[in-house]
């Protein structure tokens, strides 16, 4: 599999503040790659270095085998970016906004109009194609933003927080589109702080925290190796926690106030133990997910189980 993005030992500093620290990552062709992390983790800065609007303080970034610092124009001609903020022109319609972006990519007529018609159809923008953007809903604007980033038929699609602030139905429809784009052979690189989004879409994820990559792998692999199959949640005291976890092998736990989260490969014994402490106590027993990995990797109170 060929490498589309190669980030080699990259750091980024603003004055004394280091926002990305010695980051290494590789995105392969056809992959959906997720950069996960809380706000301020360095995800957007990493993306900006990948599409060449922010120079690394050290290290290098190659996209399509080209040095982004030297050949940013050539790199950006082959990729599409959907930014966190919608940057379309409010006074213009979706068709006019797509025309403006088409011109930035030097698309000529009649190809430009043909491509715009395809995108209007593909992202289901037809009902409002000639209405000023200011009158459109958030979901519609987001679909338009993605359409704008697809105008040049990019080989690599970069999506910065593509579904933040959208309602569940719109998120679901955008996920479908992203999956379709991937199945068409596009490489997708996205950032998100929605773990369910990453789990559903990504083949490979890197979890970032305070500018560092703290974990990397496929969502399934990360879940099984970092937290195990099961997750158990209950409100309990410190003393009760000790009794619950006493002698239970291979578990990890994370406490947030009264809430205790326990992770492990097999937590089948915990409901029985809890019943012995308090038969009426409510609990949740579920499959572990990427959110548990994220909490385990970035939480400050992660403790090894007994």
């Amino acid at each position: 599999m060929s490498t589309v993005v190669d980030v080699i030992n990259v750091s980024k500093r603003y004055a004394e503040r280091e926002v990305v620290h010695e980051l290494n990552l590789q995105v392969h062709a056809g992959q959906c790659f997720g950069l996960l992390g809380p706000n301020g983790a360095g995800k957007s800065t990493t993306l900006r270095m990948i599409y060449g609007v922010s120079a690394p303080s050290s290290g290098s970034v190659k996209v399509f085998g080209l040095d982004v610092a030297r050949e940013s124009r050539a790199v950006r001609a082959r990729l599409g970016v959907t930014l966190q903020d919608n940057v379309m022109i409010d006074a213009l319609s979706p068709v006019e906004n797509l025309e403006v972006f088409g011109r930035y990519h030097l698309l000529r007529e009649p190809e430009r109009s043909k491509r715009i018609a395809e995108l209007i159809d593909y992202l289901e923008l037809g009902s409002h194609a000639n209405v000023p953007v200011i009158a459109l809903s958030g979901g519609f604007k987001r679909r338009l933003a993605i359409a704008m980033s697809l105008i040049n038929q990019p080989e690599l699609l970069i999506l910065d927080e593509p579904t933040t602030g959208l309602d569940p139905a719109v998120r679901l429809s955008l996920w479908t589109k992203i999956r379709e784009l991937k199945s068409q052979g596009k490489t997708v690189l996205l950032t998100t702080h929605y773990m369910d989004e990453a789990e559903r879409l990504c083949d490979y994820v890197v979890i970032m925290d305070q500018g560092r990559a703290v974990s990397a792998g496929s969502p399934k692999q990360l879940i099984s190796t970092r937290v195990g199959r099961d997750a158990f949640e209950v409100d309990c005291s410190k003393e009760e926690e000790l009794r619950l976890l006493d002698g239970l092998p291979g578990t990890g736990s994370l406490r947030s106030g009264a809430r205790l989260l326990v992770y492990g490969p097999d937590l089948g014994a915990l409901p029985q133990r809890l019943q012995a402490i308090d038969p009426e106590r409510a609990y949740v027993m579920r499959r572990a997910n990427l959110e548990d990995v994220f909490l385990a990797e970035t939480g400050t109170t992660l403790e090894a189980g007994a």
Partner: protein
């Protein structure tokens, strides 16, 4: 490094602004007709009634070339200051452009070109009104025409250099009140500066950017004989305007890259 300026990308940036302007030009162009009418009526015909001659010309004849340059200055300045700042900071248009093959220098040159076009619209309309009022002959209009983009270029450079160095939109009030207004008042537009200023002040006046397009415009309008101007002063004025514009745009080029590529 990627090639710094690509003409097709520059034109795409300019075209973006033109697409927006197409939406609003009917509304925004009307005041451009009234502004020269009010100036010429109030100052030219009103104040001019009390002034017998100025450099051998009637006051309104003296006034017209300078006011054409002031119009070009205003058109260019509004575009290169407020509008560029809004596109850069609030609309994040440049962030969007930089996800495409457009580079910061394309944005700078594209915006300069658009400011120049706006200067031509403002200055051109003033000229049309002056012609309509019988204050400019077709030959005078033809001769003064190249001065309008020249003035526009200089004030695009000044406006962009200022815009790229400030962090708050509120600071434009200083630019307009403390910089452009004094230029408007003391750059040979309303009175011949060499008759009112003496000694070192005349050298200070030579630093004022508006003075030079105004002198070129008056030369183009009335010729050397009527204005007492000389070819050497004309060469100095053209040199100042062109070199100043180039210098400011080169400075802005560094500033725009620093501002947009962080």
């Amino acid at each position: 490094m990627s090639s710094r300026i690509s003409i097709p990308h520059v034109l795409a940036v300019t075209r973006r602004n033109a697409t927006m302007y197409k939406r609003t030009w009917m509304l925004s162009i009307l005041p451009n007709f009234f502004e020269p009418l009010f100036y010429l009526w109030s100052i030219g015909l009103g104040v001019g009634a009390y002034v017998s001659k100025m450099r051998g010309l009637s006051y309104v004849e003296f006034l017209v070339p300078g006011l054409i340059c002031v119009s070009a200055m205003n058109g260019s300045s509004f575009e290169a200051t407020y509008n560029v700042f809004v596109r850069m900071t609030y609309e994040k248009s440049y962030a969007g452009m930089l996800t495409t093959p457009v580079e910061p220098d394309d944005i700078l040159v594209g915006e300069t070109l658009w400011a120049l076009i706006r200067a031509c619209i403002y200055g051109g309309i003033f000229l049309l009104v002056a012609m309509g009022l019988g204050l400019a002959t077709p030959m005078q209009a033809l001769r003064v025409l190249p001065v309008i983009p020249l003035a526009g270029l200089l004030f695009a450079g000044l406006g962009l250099a200022f815009t790229m160095s400030i962090g708050s939109i509120d600071l434009f009030s200083y630019y307009f009140t403390l910089f452009l207004t004094p230029l408007f008042l003391f750059s040979d537009v309303f009175f011949p500066i060499e008759e009112r200023l003496h000694g070192a002040w005349l050298y200070v006046a030579e630093a004022l950017p508006l003075l030079h397009p105004v002198r070129i415009a008056r030369f183009a309008f009335h010729g050397a004989h009527d204005t007492g101007a000389s070819w050497s002063v004309l060469a100095w004025d053209v040199g100042y305007t062109v070199a100043g514009s180039i210098g400011l745009l080169l400075w802005s080029s560094r500033a725009v890259r620093k501002r947009l590529l962080s």
